[in-house]
Structures are given as C-alpha cells and as structure tokens.
Symmetry: D2
Subunit: 342 residues, 4 copies
C-alpha cells in the first residue's frame, strides 16, 4: 500500500472521462485527433508559453524520447548518479539515443550542485573525440529522495549548461508533488532552468497509461514523433492517452492529487517521527518517506498488510514509504494502529 | 468512417471492464499484478497449449519486441515486400533488433509462396558473413490485402523455415478477422506454421491501447521483458493494459467484434460490386475492401462524410475501405444512399 | 587468381613508401599527424575543389561512416537492390546509422534509372512517419557488374535527389577503373551528381588496409570523426593508413593500377569471347568479367589453378572473373593455355 | 616524444616482415588466408591452450567487439571508473553492444578490489529488469596508471565474477609491459582470472595497425566475426593485419619491445625522482610515469622538444610521460640534459 505510487489505481475522474467523452469517438489515428491537438493549448496555458505535448505510455519512454531528440548518439547526458535514469531505466537511455553515454555525477545524495557541475565540465579533459562530450543536463524535480531544487539552484545549473552548450531536461515524474510544496506557478518552477523539455509525470498521480512529454523547444516535436514511431511509441489510438491527460489537467486534478499525496505523507511522517523505534533518514518535501526502523518492526508492518520496500539512502539501509492521491485517512489510521501494536 | 480500423472507438465492454474491475485496484506494478498473471491462462486456453503473454501498447512494439527476441542483431528477417513490417513501421524493425536486416520477398501482392521462399533460401549465396543470414520468417494473417493463408500453406512455409533454421513469427494484427472467415480453432489456424510467437492484434478490434504478444516458446519471455524495459514498453500500471485484454477475450468478444466487421465488409463489398461505377480490385476475405472507382465518385463520397484512403494494390491505383466492430447497419445504409445519389 | 580483386597483394610502391617515409616517423596519434593532414590537399587537387579526407580500414566502414553522417537514424537510404550495400554488407548500414532503412530499387541489373527513381519518390505514399523517408541516394560507380553511369545519368539522378531533399553518396570501390574507361577528370566524373561524399576505393587497387572517405561537404567531417571513434575506426597510428594513400595517389599510381586491371580484363574477355564454349553474360566496362561456361570447363580451370566464383547476373547463373593491378601477361597466357587444353 | 606510446613508429621487424613475406602474396580475403589461420597456433602456444585470435585495427574495436560478443544489449559491464573503457572510448561500448550499460566502480585510483566488487554485486537491488544486470567484468592489465594486478587479485576477482554469472574480459593494451614486470608466463598471468577473452595490445608496442583479440572461449569466435562484419572490422586483406602480428610474436619481439620500454621508464623515473623539482605522483610498474613538477619546468621541457601531457591522478594534477620500444639512451640522455639545464 505504501510500496510505490505505481500501486495506486487510476483515479475515477480519468476513467469517467474516458467513458463519457471517448467511448463513441471516431477520430483520426496516430495523434491526428482533436483531443490530442487540444493538449498543446492546455499545457501551453499551464506554462504560460507555447509548448508542444507528446503523450507517451511510460516514464521510461517519455524520458528517453526526450533524450534521443536532444543528444546525438556520440554525445553524453549528465545526470545524478542516483537518478532514475542512472539506476532504474535498465539500458533505455543508451538504446533510445543510439549509444549516448551517461556521465553520473553528484556529491550529495540526490542533487547536483552548481559547483560540482562547473568543476566537472571544466576539468574534464574533453580530449578531442575520446570522451563523450556532454550535450544534455538532466535534473529530477522532485528528486529521487523527494526533495526539491530551488528556483535559484535551477537557474545556476541552467546557466552552466548554456555556457557549455548543453540542453536541459527535467525529469518531472513527481513534478506536481514538487509544485505543491514550492507553491509557485509551473512556469516559475521550471523556466529558470532554461529547460528544452520535461516529462510531466501523470501515471504515478492519477492516469494509468499516459505521461506528457512537454517540449519547450517546439522544433524538437518532429524529431520526437519520428523517434516515437521508431520505438513503437506512436499510439494508433493516441486519443485514449490524450483523454487521460485531459482529465488529469481538468479543474486542477493533477494538483489536487499531488496535494493529497503530500499531505498524507506529512501525516505518515509525523507518525513515524513520533515513534520511538523509528528515525527519519532524511527530510523529504513531497510524497516519499525514508525511515530507519528495526527489521522486526518492518516485519510486523508487513504482516499487518503494509508492503514496504527496503531502500538505501546512499550506503545507509532504511525503508521507503510512498503515499499517493488515493491514500486515505483510513489508511493512515490503520497504519497508526499497526505501529502502535508493535 | 471507413478510413481505418484505427478510427473505431474502444468498445463499451472494454471501458466498462476498466471501470468495474480496475478502478479501485491496488496491485503490484510492472506486470506483477493478478490480472496480468491470469492472462497466460486465458490465452493458453485459447490456443490449447502453454503460452506466455506480454501486453504491449502498440502493434509496432508488439511485432518488433518479438523480432528483437528472435533475431540476432546481425541476422535478417524475411518478410513480404508489402507487409506492414516492410512499409509501415518506419525503421522500427532495425532499431528494436539492433540492426537486423529485412529481406523483402514476394512474387504475389500479399503472400509468400513456398516455392519462392525455398528458392530464396537455397539460391542466395549466403557467403560467410557478407549477407545477413535469415533467422526469422514473418507471416501476416490476415494479409495486408485482407486475404488468408490456408493451413496447408502455413505448414509448408513452416517446414521450409525449420529446414533453414529460422523461427516463424505471425503478425496477427487482424488475426481475429481471419479466424472468423476460416472457421477453425485458433490453434488449428496458427500451429501448423510452427510459430514461436505471434502478435494478437486487439487495438483495431476493440481495445484502445493493448495488444497481446503471445509467446509459444516460453523461454522467449525473459528476453521480451528485458527488451520491453529497454524500449520503454514495460508499463508500470500494466494491469490497465491487461484489463483491456481480459475484457477483449471475455465471452468471445474478440470473435464477435471480428465477425461484425467481416459481415459489414461483405455488405459493403456487395454494394460496391453491384454498382456500375465500381469494380473490386481484389477479393478480400476479411474487413478490408479494395475498389476501383472514378475520382469523382470518391470525391462525392468524401463530401458525403465518408473518409476513404486512396490506395495501391501493387501498381494499380484504387481505394481502400475498412470496416470495424462498430460499423452499423446505419452506416451501411448511409453509404448505400451516398452511392445511389452519385 | 581471378577470384576477387581482394586476393591481389599490396603493390610494391605502397610497401616501399611505408618503409622509406614512415619507419622512423614519430608523430601525433589519431590523425593529428602531417601525412594525414596533407591528404586533404592531395585529394582536393584531384577533385579540383576543397574536400576533406578520412582514411578508413575497410570499404564497409568507409561506406557506412558516410551514411551515418548523412542519414538520420529514422530515415532511409535508396540503393540498387543488387548493390554491395544491399547484398554484401551484412547489417552494417542499419547498424552504423542506428537503424536507418534501405529502400532497394532497380529495374535493371545494376543501375537505377532516373525514371524509376522519380516514380519511387513520387508514388510512395510517405504517409507521415509510417514510412522511412529517403534521405540519401547511393550510386555505385563502377557498378557491381563493372559498368558505368554516364555523366548525364548521374546529373539526372542528382537533380531528382536534390528535388526530394536527399543527399547523394557514391560508392567508388572501383571508381579508378571507371575513370580509366570514361577518360574524364575525377571532378567531371563525379560532381554532376552533386555528391556530398564518396568512397574512393583503394584496397582492391593497390593499398592493403586504407580506403579514402572523401567529403565534398566539409561540414560532415566532425560528424564522421565522432562516428569513427564510436565505431572503432579512428586509428591511433592513422599515419600508416594515410601513408598508404599518399603512395596510392603519387605519380598517378591509382590510375596506372586501374589501367592495368582494365587492360588485363579486356584481354581475358577477348579470350573468353573467342572460345566456343563460353559466352559473355554482359559487357562489362572495367575489370570484372561475367561469363557463361559449362561446369566441366569451370572445373577444368579450377584444376588448372584458377579459382573462379560461380555468380549470378540476375537469375542467370554464370561465373565471375576479376583482374587486378597485378594481373600479368603470364597470368593471361597461362589462362589461355588452360582454356585451350579443355 | 614522451607523449604517448602511440607516437612511436612501427618497429622495423614488422615492416620488414610485410615486405618480405607478404608483398607477393596472393591469398583468400576476409581472413581465409594462411597467415591468419596460423595465428591461432602461435597464440595458443603462447597461452598453452587452444585459443582463437581475431586481428583488429584498433584497441577500441578490439575491446568493444569482445564486449559485444559477451554482453547482451540489455546487460551491463562492470569497469573501473578511470579505465580506458570508462573515459577514453567515447560511446563505443554502448554502441557495439547495442545499448549495454557501464557500471563504473573503483575506490582506488586504478584497480578494483575484491571487497568492493563483492559489495557492489551483493548490495545492488537488481530489482527485476529495472537495473541493467552486470554480465561482464573488465580488468585492465597493466592498469591505466601502469600498475599490475597480482595473480591472487585476479583469482579473487574471477571467483566473484563466476559467482555472479559474469564473464571476465582483460583489456591488455599494455599486457606485454605487465608481463615483463611480473616475470611469469602469459598463461600464469591471465588464466587465474578465468577470462573469456582479452585484447592483446600490439599497436603501442610495435605494430602500426593490428591488435590481437584473443578468445579463450572459442565459441565466441563466430559471434565476433559476425559483429566484426557489422562494424566494418572484417578486413578484406586481413593477412596484412595478421602479418604484423606474426612479426610481433616472432622471436619474442613483443616481449623485447616491452622490456625496452619498461627499462627506459625506470631510467626516466630515476632521473625524475632524483630531481629536486620533481616528485613521482605514484609508483608505476611499467612504461608510464606520473610526476608532479612546476609548470615552469614543464614549459622548459616542452621548449626543449619534449612533448608531455598534463594529466590527473584522481584529482591531483600532474604530468604523464610514456616510454616505448623505441625510446633510446640518446632520448634519455637528452632528457637528462634538459632537466639539468632548468
């Protein structure tokens, strides 16, 4: 139940939207439909600028299609050594880009500091063609540990990227959760980085099979579309992916869902923090909680029906709990009872 | 309306199934859920043998994941020169396999004869490593022109493939339509070919975003799964793809839908055949119709709201009409009226 | 002995040049040396324009590095269905380009006519992203059957390529042999096609491990260099490849060698044509001969020490004899004797 | 002059061998010749077991063809974070393998300890398909810093690799230099690791365009050969690469050359160590020297004609000097004079 935000169901608004609006739709395939074409306006409104949107089945595909459009096959992508791209995408970044390298940096557990980025870019002896030259910087917002890059931080990273002729890509698998915590507009949250593209994660937060790849550089769109066809990601009935995203952005559903998840995490985190057997491993800002507890307590919670992953924050063993839009007060209460009964 | 089976909506049973069964589902991600694991049994029953099923977003991905699991990157795939793989998958077969070649053969417009397959395999001087050695034979059932390989035909092709150490793959994007027309069991329709895997197309016939990749060689499954992760096709909430397939196979929905589409095609074909301005370009057995007509009549039908693609059967210009599960008597009547009013 | 021009030894001028000039050379690796940098001038003089040259180990690498620099991974290359790229490069074109498709056309046995190229480009329904859009046209000069595209022919093909926004690439594995027969300048022979790059084959004609990839579009050079590093084709001691090419172009060695091979072929062809058991399968213009003869005669020649490949010109079985720069009058006389003694 | 072992000329024995033995050779192309087939025996004798040898143009190709034959496209290669594969091969490892990942580890500056290898393999939560599972361990002997893995060290690494079902690959770009210093047989030096394949570097040590890829698992040979064709590394006149290797192994030339280079390095290292302005950054065992010196001294030496690369040993700035088989007493004396005159 707290295993992953991927265990959450699709939210009712999304399924209802599919039922009501799409059931009898007859429209053009491969994104030539009206729902898909309207997505651009919806997301352009959200970011207060012209953007292009490409609906994609999975986070992996969404991230890697963006990289494939932004990085030549002989180039490299700078990413945090603990990022999803580094540790959880199998070999997808190499495969989609046709061979590009990942330069994995990061002194801290989940963020890249401007200093280390500068140092890495400046010091590396990019001797001719022998090293793979970095062409893209990826930033995960919120980070893998649920924390947030400040606007100033993004601005500094973006300036360094520009200086070294790199594009910026934001992996926003949990961007909505970050936004709620930051309490700024989507545009204010992202644009200081000078990002060319971002994944706007939706599957963890309410849809069931649609992520939005948002292109701030519209000229990337035809490349993404070609690459999507090549990789089997040009859905013939794309309007059913787009429909999920329509419902997702309608009436602020995406933000409400993230707010619910963050709020549940705060309650859960409070419970754990107050428990004498538990100690938070880090302070997360969003919907993930990293906590140290005795193995016996973990077993006790598992037995009570709470599936929880063992995790690592750096070399430190701990456990990860993740809340989602559907985490209810009942879930929290049940968990509190289980904790108490240990 | 007769543009493509991809214009059809998802069928109500599929959306209802999602609503009823999945809305409140909390289950493991990445195919570790109960709906996905039950799929193997459902499809094993259909084919009367143990199979493994992998739910995939698109036909391109489904075909190409199979090829990637069956063909080494330095090998080749034999396919008909007019097959979907040859002309409609962009560069996906090369990309998924990491470079494999396509040997495009076919004296006839849509089928490969045993004689030409034998001749091609025997005569080619597979001089050492210079030619890409064929490792997979692909067969499209029903064909791109809506016709059907007989059981005997498949058996002969399969025997040749085995003789030359090739696996067989069936692209069954419209397999259900073929089955209805053949009036045999799925197993009798496919197994004579000795196929290792097939795509069981569903998107054109009722689902909106789920195809079934069926593996008759279960040892291919882990390779497909790895490759699916690498290509962004391992859906985190795979149960929503599996649910579509559950609904699709329930109570024979897939066969009923195909029957409806074929039957509508027969009516349509009869209308066109009876019309003095029209002449069928070929006799199709399933839900596609290829017809020659004056451009003025095509324009007249377009104006009446019937979107119809210009097409080619070999070098011969014609038009293609496609029916689907949702084609109703009303549609047919409206079309008959439009024809009459020319 | 007449098996292939690849059986010929390196010519003495090439080995002597290595001995004299390079033995004690200490110079920069990876092409930063003086011999490599002077190559640009040498070949620029030959083509009477600024070109860049990249020395490569093999014909496959030379052809495919060019394609990789000219064709996006989601594009396609048009090539003759019997060209070396189509039948003798295994899967290299797909691999180097990261997935690009080959569109194999050609009504004639070895050349592409302007009419069929136009028809192919015009008629194909390049429906959006579904087909791989042609971005490069490749032309083999001399052709696989030893014949020659006229200047006018190249000009027409080039104009069509430009019209459809394709670059032109010349596979010049036997370009020197073509040049001798055409009796025009290298520039006059190539530039009417508007080629962006060509392979200037040397290995079959005197060097032992160096081909020249000639770039008429200098901006392709850094892409080729990156791709060469990625594919293991950036030789650390590149000056030893460049040295072979220096010797090859010095004092017209490349043309003299080709002249000798063509002249030997004419003698051989005359012998065969005069023999009552033999019939030329086609009239070749350069150093390849395609001849029909009884299998018994073929066996007789083999027994006499003349290795000769069975071949096909289209579906017609025949034998291929290839001469090279080292084919001597003694060889020809010995062959004449062997023929007579049948 | 001390810039890199790649600045050294080909050694006279290699060029003479080409002149004498190969000039008039007429033989089969693509490795079907006698020189190539005899290589297997020569190297089998060296390693006292049956091996297969594949001659390759470059170190990059030799390393990466081996990886491509040993690692699936969805797998990973463990390598030291400072290894040539990690920092100097551009994106070649990803490209040749069709996407495999590099897991870069290493607490020390140039070697991987058994403890950290075990820890890495054991701790990583190889969660299903999400991480790229390591399938190959690469070891560089001598290391990038010119040091040597002991036999016991290799044995321990090999045992861990077997335990985790990984193959072992040895990058032996400077293997001969290691062997001289270790004073053991080639077999004793390598086989404790259980290696499946190794690169036996020759270009830095006497040849000019031929490395030997040695396969201790002969069943890898056909895969390497296919992959070599796909990547343009199947030389048509392969006998000219093989000839270089014949000369290289004849009468112990490879060991004599390495001995000369190591011995020159010891003299140079002694000179530097004795100099009050210089301090060795590490103790190297072979033909590379890493030394700290004032920039003014570096400039002084450059002005005296000694090209020397600035380098890093970890974060510590220093300079690298490399000797080779051709480094003479005169070179050393001249350098001693230059040092003295500062």
């Amino acid at each position: 139940m707290f295993l992953s935000d991927n265990t959450a169901p699709a939210c009712p608004e999304v399924l209802n939207y599919l039922q009501q609006y799409v059931q009898n739709s007859v429209d053009h395939p491969y994104g030539g439909d009206q729902l898909t074409s309207k997505l651009n306006d919806i997301v352009s409104n959200i970011f207060e600028r012209e953007v292009m949107v490409f609906p994609v089945l999975s986070g992996t595909a969404s991230n890697c299609l963006a990289l494939a459009a932004m990085c030549p096959s002989t180039g490299a992508v700078i990413t945090h050594r603990n990022s999803h791209l580094s540790v959880d995408e199998n070999t997808a970044p190499h495969f989609f880009t046709g061979g590009a390298a990942l330069h994995q940096i990061g002194g801290g557990a989940d963020t890249i500091s401007p200093e280390e980025l500068s140092r890495f870019c400046a010091k590396r002896p990019w001797r001719d063609v022998h090293s793979a030259v970095p062409r893209v910087l990826t930033i995960t917002q919120a980070t893998e540990l649920g924390r947030i890059y400040s606007t100033e931080h993004l601005q500094e990273l973006g300036a360094i990227a520009r200086h070294y002729d790199m594009r910026v890509f934001i992996d926003g698998a949990r961007f909505a959760n970050a936004l709620i915590q930051q309490n700024v507009s989507p545009s204010a949250a992202v644009m200081p980085s000078g990002a060319s593209a971002m994944t706007l994660g939706a599957i963890k937060n309410g849809t069931f099979g649609a992520e939005a790849l948002v292109l701030f550089e519209p000229e990337l769109f035809p490349v993404v579309r070609q690459k999507a066809k090549q990789t089997g990601h040009l859905a013939s009935k794309m309007r059913y992916l787009s429909a999920q995203l329509h419902a997702y952005f309608k009436d602020g559903l995406w933000l409400n869902n993230a707010r619910a998840a963050n709020s549940a995490a705060k309650q859960l985190s409070g419970l754990l923090n107050a428990n004498p057997h538990c100690e938070l491993a880090i302070e997360s800002d969003t919907n993930q909680i990293f906590v140290r507890m005795p193995d016996a307590l973990h077993q006790h919670l598992q037995d009570a029906g709470f599936d929880i992953y063992p995790w690592h924050v750096e070399d430190q063993a701990c456990f990860r709990l993740v809340t989602n839009w559907a985490t209810s007060n009942d879930h929290i209460d049940a968990f509190a009872n289980a904790l108490r009964s240990y």
